[in-house]
Symmetry: D3
C-alpha cells in the first residue's frame, strides 16, 4: 500500500508538464504523481531527471536507460524495472535487449564499450567503496572521456536513489509500461 500523502495543488508550470505527459505518452508517470506532494520536490526531481537522461552527453539516451535498468535489476526495483525496461525496448527497438537488461545484462551480446559501462554500473551499485582508479581506467580504455565517466556515475547514482525512494514508498508503475514496445522494430 503506497504512502497516503495527498498531492499538493499543481502550479501552472507543472500542470503544463503533466498535460504534456498525457499528450505525448498518454499518462502521467506515477513517479511524478508521487512527487506532486510538494512543488519544490517535484521541480528538484524533474529538473535533475531531465538533465540527466535527456541533456546532451557522450552517452546515448539508450545507454543511459540501459544503466538505469541494470542498476534497478540489482536493487530489484519493480517501479524502475518496469518503466525503464520499457524505455530500453523502445529506444533500441529490441525487446529482447530490454528483457536481458532486466534479467541479467551479462546474457546480452554487447560491444566492449557497453559491457564495460554496465560492469562499472554494477560494481558501483553493489560495492561502491571498492570503485577505484583501475575501474575508471577500464572505462577510458574503451573510449569514455572524463566527462562520460561523470555521466555514468551520475546515472548509476540517480537510480540507486530512485530505486530506494520507490521501495520506501511502495511506488507502483503505470500499467501502460508493461505492453509498450513488446514487438521488435522492423
Amino acid at each position: 500500500m503506497a504512502l497516503a500523502i495527498p498531492p499538493a495543488e499543481l502550479d501552472t508550470q507543472n500542470q503544463a508538464y503533466f498535460d504534456k505527459c498525457v499528450e505525448k505518452i498518454g499518462f502521467v508517470p506515477n513517479v511524478l504523481q508521487a512527487y506532486a506532494l510538494d512543488m519544490a520536490k517535484l521541480n528538484a526531481f524533474a529538473g535533475m531527471y531531465n538533465d540527466l537522461m535527456l541533456a546532451p552527453s557522450g552517452l546515448s539516451k539508450l545507454e543511459r536507460e540501459m544503466i538505469a535498468v541494470v542498476v534497478s535489476s540489482i536493487n530489484r526495483c519493480y517501479y524502475c524495472l518496469t518503466a525503464h525496461g520499457a524505455a530500453v525496448r523502445q529506444l533500441s527497438g529490441d525487446p529482447i535487449l530490454g528483457e536481458q537488461m532486466v534479467m541479467n545484462y551479462r546474457a546480452a551480446r554487447l560491444d566492449p564499450r557497453r559491457r564495460a559501462m554496465l560492469d562499472f554500473a554494477a560494481k558501483l551499485t553493489e560495492r561502491p567503496h571498492e570503485v577505484e582508479e583501475d575501474d575508471r581506467a577500464v572505462l577510458r580504455k574503451v573510449g569514455f572521456s572524463e566527462r562520460d565517466i561523470w555521466d555514468i556515475g551520475a546515472v548509476v547514482g540517480f537510480f540507486n536513489m530512485s530505486n530506494r525512494i520507490a521501495s520506501a514508498t511502495d511506488m507502483r508503475p503505470n500499467e501502460e509500461y508493461h505492453v509498450q514496445a513488446r514487438a521488435p522494430k522492423v
Copy 2:
C-alpha cells in the same frame, strides 16, 4: 586521482552561492566544485540538496544528517562520512554521536524514534527490495507521519546517490571538515 574535468564558468547566481559558502563556512565544499563542470547539473544538485536537507520537515536537520552518515557508513563513502560526520557533530554538539554514526550507529544510545529511523535507513540501503509495508508500520508506530516516511526515504535515497557519485569520481572532502566540532558543546 579525481576526474580531470575542467569547471565551467560560474554564472552569476552560482558565483554568489559559492561566495556565500566562503563567507559562511570558509570554503566551497568540493562536491559543489565538482558539479561546477556544468551549471545545469550544479543547479539540479544544489536545488535538490537544499530542499532535502534544509526545507521544513518532520525530521530535524540533525536527524537528516544522522541518516546521511549512516547511509554513507554502509557504503563506506569517504567524502560523505567526512562532511556529514562533521555536520552531526556540529548540529548535535555531541562529537561522540558523530563518531558513532560513522562507526556503527547501533552503538549509540538512541531513543526508539531515531533507532527505528536508522534501522529503516540501513535496511533501505542494504536490501531495498525487502522493504515492505511492515517496515513502514514500524516507523508509524514510533510517531512518523506518511510525509515523514517520504522524507526518510528521500534522504536515504539521496545519499545512496551521492555516495556513488563520490566513489565514481574519487571526490575528496575539504580538509576543514576533519577538525570541525571535535570538542563537545558545553
Copy 3:
C-alpha cells in the same frame, strides 16, 4: 557462446516428443535441444521435469511456475526467466504477475498462501542451510500438506539445478517466449 556439443541422433520416442512440441507450441524448447546430446540424459531430464511440473499436486501448475520464476530471479537465469516468465503470464492470464515474479515477487499482491510459498522458495534458494522446522511450520499454517511441502522443495530444487546448467552452458531461450502472452486475458 553455447557449448559446441553435437546432438546425438534422436530415438523414435524423443523424435515423437520433439514433433509434438513443434505441433503444440511451434518450436522445440532449447533446453531439450541441449539435452539431446545424449538420449539417456534427455530422458532423465524430461522425465523429472514432466513429473514435477505437470503431474497432479497440491500445487497448481501456475504455482509451480511462479516458484520456477522466483528461484530463477534470484539466480538471474536468463533462460529460465524467459521461458517460465512466459508460462506464468500464460497460465495466469496476467502479464503483470509474470513481470513481478521476474522483477521482485514482493511487489505482487499475493494471498498469504502464495506469499508464504514464495518466501520459502526464496530462503531455500538463498540460504538452504538455514531452512528448519519453523519454516515448514509457516507453510503448514497457510494450509500446505506434508506432501505439498515436498513438492515446493522439489520445484525449488529443480530450478536451482536448471539455472546452473543453463549458466554453465550458456543456454539461450527460444525467441518465441518473449512475445508470448503479453496482453492481459479478458
Copy 4:
C-alpha cells in the same frame, strides 16, 4: 523432524533396487526411502542420479563425488556432505581428501585440472549469474572437453537441487556413512 509422508508401496522394479542396495552396501540410502513416497518421483530421481554419477564420462567417478561434496559444503547440506563425503573417502582411498572437500577444498593439494573444476563448481554454486565464457575457457585450458563442461555443470546443478530438497524436508543421512572409509587405503 522430517516430513511425515507415508511411503507408497514399492513396485517390483524398485523393490529389487532396494534389495540390491541392502545386499551391496548394507542399507537403503535415506534419500531413496524419502523419494519412495511416489514411484514416478523415485524413478525420475534414481534415473537421473545413476546416469549422472555412474554413466561413462570424461570425469571420473571420484571427480563427480568431489564436485558433489564441494557444492554441498557451500550449501552446508548435512545429508549430502555425509553421504558423498564417505564416497570421496572410499573412491580415493584418502580419508583426508574427503575431509578437505567437506571443510575447504582450497586446503587440498590438487592438480590444476581438479582445482579448476572445483573453482568452477564453487562459482557456479555461489554466483551462477556471473559464470561466462571466460570461466569455460579456464576449464578448456586444463583439458576439459565441451562435453566434460556439460557434465561438470550437470553435477553442480544436481547437488544444488539435492541439497535444497534435503534441507526443505530435513532429510537425515544413514548413520552408516559416518564410519565408512575412515582409515587410509594402503
Copy 5:
C-alpha cells in the same frame, strides 16, 4: 605451502610442554610448532588458549569445543575444523555430533541452551556489529550467567583469531586428528 619460518630454540618450560604433548597425545600440535618461531608468542598463545579452553567455566569443555568448531565452520578453517572436530568427537563420545558441528550445527538435535549458544556464536562470527542487548537476553533466558556470556564471547573471538592466523600462514593439522574418535563411545 606454509610460511618458511625457522623455529626458535625451545626454552626449558616449552620443551617440557612439548614433551608432555607427545607423552599425552602422541604428537605436538602443529599450531604450537608454528608459534615456536618466538618463545614470547608461544607463551602468549598457549597461555590464552589453556585458560580459555581448560580453566573452570560455566561452559563445559565440550561446549567450548562445539563453539570452536561452529566458528571454524563458518570461516572454513581446515586446521581448526580438523583439530577441534576431533575434540568434539572425543569429549562427547558422539562422532556424529562432531560431524554436525563441522557441516551445519543446525542439523544437530540440541537442547535450547546449546542451540542458543551456537546461534549467538554464529551471529557474532558473521555479523558482530549487529550483536546487541537482545542477543544477550536470549542467552540469559536459557540460563547463561553474565560471566558465561563473557566466556562464550571469548571463545568465539579466539577462534575467529586462530582461523585467520591458520589461513594467513597455511597451517596444516597433524594427520592424527583425522582418525581420532571415529567410533561412537559405548
Copy 6:
C-alpha cells in the same frame, strides 16, 4: 548495557600496570577494566596484546595500528575503531589518515607496501577461507618477509578476536580517545 560482571581484586602486578596507564595516558583503557574480571584472563590478554603491538617486528607500530583499524572498520567495532583510530592519528601525526582507516582505507594515498598489507588484512577478515599462496606472494613482492607475513596475520587475527569480544560484551571506549590527536602534527 555492558555485562554486569564485578571486577576481581587486582593483584600487585596488575595494580602497577593500571597505575602506569593512569600515569602515562591519564586513564585505564576500558578493555583492561573489562578483563579485570579474572587475573589469569587479564594477564593472557595483556601479554598477547603487548607482544603483538609493541614487540620488535618488521611492521612499524603505526602499521600494526593501521591494520587494527581496518579490521575493526570491516567488523564495525565501536570500541576498537575509537581506541585504535586515536592511535593511528597519534603515531602518524596525521589525523586524516586515522579517519581514512576508519572510513575506507582505499581512500588513503598509500605506498604499495601498505596498500598490499591492508588489502591482505581486509581479505583475511572478510574471506579467510579464500586466502592462499597467491595472496602471500603479493606481500612478498612488496618486500614483506615470511615473519612479517606472520605478524600481519597475527594482528589481523587479534582484532578479529577483540572486535567480537567487544561486541559480545558491549564494551565502550573511554571518552578520552575521541579528542586525542585531532590536530595535525607540525
